[in-house]
């Protein structure tokens, strides 16, 4: 267990070596080196995990203090790592999935000129994420939190020569900053009340917290989590973050980084336990995000945008679980979601590469014939997220919904909203699979004019919103223009290389079987629940067996109904899709646009006022002092004539005056 420092050390080494020698290693050696470092980290995690497994359940905490980071009076922050069931579980799936995605990236980025730079960022990301998870105090977690935010910014804007990409990166950074503000104030509050920022101390102190203080803390940390984990009202950066390379979307914006908010909430469950109505806020924000994002996903045409909104929606489920004290379900869904969402994203990346970087699903179709491995694994991902038993998504989602049903008087309402979300999820994923892998080969039709019309629409949408996004929209149009010229009617899609399909197959395997982590049939089968038991304060009661069974059959029925509706609409053409894909949904309920409008209108005026105050009043005082000194200097300048004899006369007169003064004083 003393090895835990190696877990983040491997990717740090990878980062440093690649910064220094990345170009020298070249393609694809730099990628293999980076992958090996992350794999080393995964292997170390496995060793620590087995070590932890062999100790008594109650003693599964190991802290390693590397050095004192910031000693400042009574405040100290140690640079210490903590291995406990929660952190090691996070490490396991973070490093595992990161290894697969590193390998995938070797294939995906094979034609990119900044190949080694990509792996520098990726290794830095893994190191930050592991620090976030393993840190034994809030400040170290915050360091990792900011590190992953930085990597997210760098990787969204990886192709930064395109204006749309770099503004998406900025948007992600700004949205996260709002959340970070909450996180920081939360840390201050914990320090003032608890007197320590170590998780162990917080946990010991938590029962003594006043309800009001605990509520404030929970809400502040939740604000941080809404930024990082893309919840209402800060979720708008995540769909835009799809501008980055697809492996980045899979690793950071689906599987790992965005779950940091959920991790933080679960880590702080002793505080949430005392936090009263803050939990209701979390649950309602979670379920509202899940529902809103699912409705938006129904009308998206970009293959990655669908998955992005789907991610926001699934993260909403996790917060619903956190808000109903169902932490095990939250972590369970985090893991299963990481598997199938990473799978879906990597699958979409494979499709995008195969289709000459076209991302519009309206120009796909019948791809299962050309890309059998991608199609097969994507379909497994689809069934998993739709909640079809016995695939993993069913078990975790059902546990969240069943837990929500049992959560106080509002429980059934939360459950119902969650169920509607599940229906929508099944529907939009069916739509995506049919549009991509079934039906006619639509890129063979003369879709040129149509696609241009779509691009113009987007430009108009940007125009209407505010001044600011216009440039973005225009850039996006240019981009789309370039891209779909790559996709000509005589294009022949081909399956991706093995470095890309191998991770797909592995992830598909996990997406099928990950449900066995936590089966509800007996106490013994609830492995994840037992594993996490020492970390979590308080008991969560699931509904009893008959109710549970009823809820589960309801969930299964919902998934199947959703899939059937999708099948009827998109395969059998029983209804006009445009009746479902309303433009209000396609444009995300205008949430993003109203932010832009507000920030571009009253918001901008306010910031202009602040800027004016700074430039006129604050700068005015500073400049005034400078100007005043200059004026006085100019006034008394002639005294310095440079003629020595004048100075000598001055001395003389002065000496005489002094003499007179002294003499007269003495005579008095």
């Amino acid at each position: 267990m003393e090895l835990i420092w190696l877990i983040p050390a491997f990717p740090v080494v990878g980062f440093v070596v690649l910064v220094l020698f990345g170009r020298l290693l070249g393609k694809p050696a730099a990628g293999w080196f980076a992958s090996a470092m992350v794999a080393g980290s995964f292997a170390t995690t496995l060793v620590v995990f087995l070590d932890l497994l062999s100790t008594q359940s109650a003693q599964r905490v190991f802290e390693q203090k590397l050095y004192t980071w910031m000693p400042a009076g009574s405040f100290t922050a140690t640079f210490g790592l903590m291995a406990d069931p929660l952190s090691i579980m996070m490490c396991l799936f973070v490093t595992g999935i990161a290894t697969l995605i590193h390998i995938y990236s070797i294939g995906y980025m094979r034609d990119d000129e900044n190949f080694s730079k990509f792996f520098i960022y990726l290794n830095l990301f893994v190191a930050s994420m592991l620090l976030l998870v393993l840190g034994n105090n809030l400040l170290l977690t915050f360091l990792g939190w900011e590190g992953v935010g930085l990597c997210s910014f760098l990787l969204i804007g990886f192709w930064h020569t395109d204006l749309a990409n770099s503004s998406a990166a900025k948007k992600a950074f700004v949205a996260n900053r709002i959340g970070d503000f909450g996180f920081m104030v939360g840390i201050f509050l914990v320090w003032v009340t608890v007197g320590s920022i170590n998780y162990a101390d917080i946990r010991a102190y938590a029962p003594n917290l006043a309800a009001g203080t605990a509520t404030a803390m929970a809400l502040l940390f939740f604000l941080g989590a809404t930024g990082k984990s893309a919840q209402l009202p800060l979720y708008t950066w995540l769909p835009d973050a799809m501008a980055g390379p697809t492996p980045v979307s899979a690793l950071m914006h689906a599987a790992t980084m965005v779950t940091a908010g959920v991790y933080l909430m679960v880590r702080l469950n002793p505080i949430l336990h005392e936090a009263g109505w803050a939990n209701d806020v979390i649950a309602w924000v979670g379920v509202a995000t899940a529902l809103v994002a699912a409705t938006i996903a129904v009308a998206q045409n970009d293959i990655k945008k669908v998955l992005a909104y789907s991610t926001v929606s699934q993260l909403g489920y996790m917060f619903l679980a956190v808000g109903t004290h169902n932490y095990v379900a939250a972590m369970f869904h985090m893991v299963t979601h990481a598997f199938f969402k990473a799978l879906l994203f990597l699958g979409s990346g494979s499709v995008i590469v195969g289709m000459a970087h076209e991302q519009d699903m309206r120009r796909y179709g019948n791809l299962r014939k050309y890309m059998p491995i991608t199609a097969g694994t994507f379909i497994i991902g689809w069934l998993a997220i739709a909640g079809v038993p016995p695939l993993s998504g069913f078990w975790s989602k059902d546990e969240i919904l069943a837990g929500a049903f049992n959560a106080g008087p509002a429980g059934p309402v939360l459950w119902l909203l969650g169920l509607i979300t599940a229906l929508l999820t099944a529907f939009y994923m069916t739509r995506q699979v049919i549009m991509t892998f079934y039906g006619d080969e639509k890129w063979r039709e003369d879709a040129h004019a149509e696609a241009h019309a779509g691009a113009d629409e987007a430009a108009e949408a940007g125009d209407e919103a505010t001044g600011a996004p216009v440039a973005t929209a225009v850039a996006a149009v240019d981009h789309a223009h370039d891209d779909h010229h790559g996709l000509t009617p005589d294009h022949e899609p081909v399956e991706s290389p093995w470095t890309m399909t191998f991770p797909l197959v592995v992830l598909a395997g996990f997406s099928i079987v990950a449900g066995v982590l936590n089966l509800p049939f007996s106490d013994k089968l609830e492995r994840l629940g037992n594993w996490l038991h020492p970390v979590i304060i308080g008991e969560h009661h699931m509904p009893n067996a008959p109710v549970l069974f009823g809820l589960a059959s309801g969930a299964i029925t919902t998934s199947i109904v959703g899939i059937l509706i999708g099948y009827a609409v998109y395969e059998k053409r029983k209804a006009d899709p445009s009746k479902i894909e309303l433009s209000v949904l396609a444009r995300g309920w205008f949430i993003d646009e109203s932010y832009s409008k507000f920030m571009g209108g009253p918001g901008r005026a306010f910031y202009q006022g602040v800027a004016d105050f700074d430039s006129k009043i604050v700068d005015g005082v500073v400049n005034g002092v400078g100007k005043g000194s200059l004026g006085i200097g100019r006034l008394i300048r002639p005294a310095q004539s440079g003629i020595i004899r004048t100075y000598a006369l001055g001395f003389g007169v002065g000496a005489v005056l002094l003499l007179v003064f002294v003499v007269t004083r003495m005579s008095l």
Partner: protein
């Protein structure tokens, strides 16, 4: 016989000091001005010695040593500057050297 009291010394010192001070103000040759400064210094030194004798206090004579040392150091620097100035420009007088005018 005229007795040589302290007054004589003090009168002599003030005369020398006055000559130095007036010379400093009226002459323009840097070298002469420098010599005038030396005169003033030596006048002061003479006063120190006189009072030392009159008050029977050795402190005054100790001060003289300090003044001598400082004067020696000052002469080295001062003469160096003057030589440098005269090398740059022959017949330079003090009023020409007003580079530091504000």
């Amino acid at each position: 016989m005229l007795e040589l009291t302290e007054t004589w010394y003090l009168v002599l010192a003030s005369l020398i000091f006055t000559i130095g001070a007036v010379g400093l103000l009226v002459r323009r040759n840097p070298l002469v001005m420098f010599m005038c400064v030396e005169l003033m210094l030596n006048a002061t030194t003479l006063t120190f010695v006189t009072f030392s004798k009159a008050l029977n206090d050795v402190g005054g004579q100790a001060s003289v040593f300090f003044v001598l040392v400082v004067a020696a150091a000052e002469v080295v620097v001062g003469l160096g500057i003057i030589v440098a100035i005269l090398r740059r420009q022959d017949n330079a007088d003090a009023d020409d050297l007003s580079l530091m005018r504000g």
